[in-house]
């Protein structure tokens, strides 16, 4: 089979027999661990940027018409492609609000979360957890990152290019997106970002199928790997229609075609210059065909992380592992046939909306199974409430709220009232923010020792967790009520509406919770950097975990394992019955 990848730490095989240059080692590396760290660091930076955009928006939402403090005048400067704030007053402009809103969504979804959970955690952990020396296509892996980074930089650069950043929501609906500034750069960036994901997904699927260590059957895979496997298929098959749509929208903008431009469109009193004959709904279909599976891309890896952390910190196997695996597969499959539930208000008729309502209700079942299995996994456990476990456990009720609030949106009748309101924002943020992001935090605290060889500080971790948990709820719970009252999303100034006036007070509370959330991240950032130098040094397996990544050195060398691991058992053999030991690693042979 494969040659034993026996490399001493820092001895990197190269054709010339000496250590590779700084560029080969840290910048254009083909090692999945370096690439994983690159994705994670870049993703965290974009997460911070996306968060900052929202914090500015929250000022306008809480205090409409008030100048943005400190940076108000700065954001009106000529060094931006288009002014975000008013030059005289420093008040956030409606165009600026829209640009920040569109970019907040785009950056968070495509440049922060997916690169973090798939590019970062996936790349670093999956080959280790399956006992492989690297991904199946190391150079393709590097290429994926180097499509992502330019795409992200181009997207960020859009703020400084003429016209400014995109202003038409992360959903870029035609015809507005076709006629609005900033959209061309958005589309080109998306092409780069989509290409990155496509190439990456091929790598994940081939790696997981082909490179598992001896004895590692599919049903012995850690749930995290299963999650990444399904995610790979979602990225592979759902992204291309958006790429096609992006090409068509670019054609509409640059070549004057009418793929999405309807006939007789009047803009500001004048007939639009397109010949017409296109369909704005076509854009919606193609966009949501991707964007629905995309939200499962956002959540599945996080569920995987949570599963790993829970199994490890309850010192018992996951309950319902098989059900979780089948649910993840079913979820992935179903995610392709629910997309039009984002389009219930487009006039598709009751037969079709009934179809999509049904598939959407059905898709909640595997989610519930996974969540229930994770909750039951806590029962009877010997729970260690360390930092990763705090985030992993908190994920459960948060995802539950996120999922449950989706049901009134899945039902067409209630969706009539809730579509495009703050209720939707509350719903999906519950899933991604105290959902996925909590999974990300859990993963960072959990795998930090594997990446760096040092532990993060536990106390700082707890100080990070509690305010974060409280603030997340302070931000998104009121939004559900704002939506129920009828406040529309993407509203620059809620007070012009009667419903908005009722809930304007909530906007203030939400904004202060958001700014407090920002402050609550400071212990985490400090912890992250300080622990690099002075965190407690550890060996391979500080968490006493069973999965294969903990059999490799911390950090693992090029090639990962000193000798190729062989797997003898299921992934979560904690507290084996009738034995006095606490856990059996997957690669430990059976004792007589």
């Amino acid at each position: 089979m494969s040659a034993a990848a026996a490399h001493a730490p820092h001895d990197h095989a190269s054709p010339h027999g000496h250590a590779p240059s700084f560029w080969r080692h840290y910048v254009f590396s083909v090692d999945h661990k370096v690439i994983g760290v690159q994705y994670a660091i870049t993703g965290l930076i974009f997460l911070f940027v996306g968060f900052c955009l929202m914090m500015v928006m929250r000022w306008q939402l809480a205090y409409p018409g008030q100048p943005v403090p400190l940076i108000g005048k700065l954001l009106a400067s000529d060094w931006l492609g288009a002014a975000i704030t008013d030059k005289q007053t420093g008040v956030l402009l409606p165009e600026g609000y829209n640009a920040f809103g569109a970019m907040h969504g785009t950056i968070m979804v495509f440049m922060a979360i997916v690169p973090l959970v798939v590019g970062g955690f996936g790349n670093f952990v999956v080959p280790l957890q399956i006992g492989a020396p690297d991904m199946a296509f190391p150079r393709l892996n590097m290429l994926s990152y180097w499509c992502y980074l330019p795409g992200g930089l181009l997207m960020s650069a859009s703020f400084f290019l003429p016209g400014g950043a995109a202003q038409s929501g992360w959903t870029s609906y035609a015809p507005l997106a076709v006629i609005s500034p900033g959209q061309t750069v958005w589309l080109f960036s998306m092409v780069l970002l989509i290409t990155s994901s496509l190439l990456g997904s091929i790598n994940f699927i081939v790696t997981i199928v082909q490179l598992r260590a001896r004895g590692l059957t599919f049903m012995r895979l850690p749930f995290f790997v299963w999650a990444q496997f399904v995610t790979g298929f979602l990225l592979l098959l759902a992204f291309p229609p958006l790429e096609a749509a992006a090409v068509m929208q670019l054609m509409d903008r640059l070549a004057g075609t009418s793929f999405f431009m309807p006939e007789g469109l009047v803009i500001s009193g004048k007939l639009a210059e397109w010949t017409g004959g296109g369909s704005p709904l076509l854009w919606q279909h193609l966009f949501w065909f991707l964007a629905h599976p995309e939200v499962y891309v956002l959540i599945l890896p996080a569920m995987g992380i949570v599963a790993e952390v829970i199994a490890n910190n309850t010192r018992k196997p996951l309950w319902g592992y098989r059900s979780m695996v089948y649910s993840a597969i079913f979820l992935g499959f179903m995610s392709f046939v629910v997309w039009a539930h984002h389009m219930f208000m487009t006039g598709m008729g009751t037969k079709l909306s009934a179809f999509f309502q049904t598939t959407t209700m059905i898709i909640s079942i595997p989610s519930v199974i996974i969540l229930t299995a994770l909750v039951i996994s806590l029962w009877g456990g010997s729970i260690r409430f360390n930092a990763p476990m705090l985030f992993a456990t908190a994920f459960l009720p948060m995802f539950a709220i996120g999922g449950l609030t989706g049901l009134p949106l899945a039902l067409t009748t209630s969706d009539i009232h809730l579509h495009d309101t703050y209720y939707v924002i509350g719903h999906f943020h519950y899933v991604v923010a105290p959902g996925t992001i909590f999974g990300i935090f859990a993963g960072i605290y959990y795998w930090y020792p594997k990446v760096t060889g040092r532990m993060m500080n536990e106390t700082l971790g707890k100080i990070h967790f509690w305010p974060t948990f409280l603030c997340m709820n302070g931000i998104f719970l009121p939004m559900l009520f704002q939506g129920l009252v009828g406040l529309s999303r993407r509203t620059y100034d809620a007070t012009v509406y009667e419903a908005g006036q009722l809930v304007q007070g909530m906007h203030v509370g939400i904004s202060w919770a958001a700014w407090t959330l920002a402050v609550a991240q400071i212990p985490f950032i400090i912890n992250f950097f300080i622990s690099l130098r002075s965190g407690r040094k550890v060996a391979e397996n500080p968490w006493e975990a069973t999965t294969l990544e903990w059999a490799a050195p911390s950090p693992p060398p090029h090639g990962n394992f000193v000798t190729e691991p062989v797997v003898y058992r299921d992934p979560y053999d904690y507290s084996p019955p009738g034995r006095s030991i606490d856990f059996l690693p997957q690669n430990k042979p059976q004792e007589a």
Partner: protein, 112 residues
Amino acid sequence: MSVHSADEVKRHVRTYLMVFAALAILTVITVAISTVHLPSHRAIALALVVAVIKAALVALFFMHLASERRIIYATLALCAVFLAALLFGPILTEHEFIHWANTQPRGGAHVS
């Protein structure tokens, strides 16, 4: 990739040439049918049938799908299901707006 013996390869080559001939003939057939200018539905259906046959020949023989592994079949089957959703989903939602006889030129305002 399995090792092929010289004889196996020579048999494959014969197959490739026969498929080439078939593809050329089918191309001629497609063009010939179109010159008859059948009514839209029949034209489209027939054109699709011939295209599918040609595509199957390329896939089965040039791409060696006839003797490929299950994992490849499984990948393609999955893809086919989602492709069907992508092809039929949008038009089903717009079915009220479909003019089933639309390709008969009506000499109206929209023919450019």
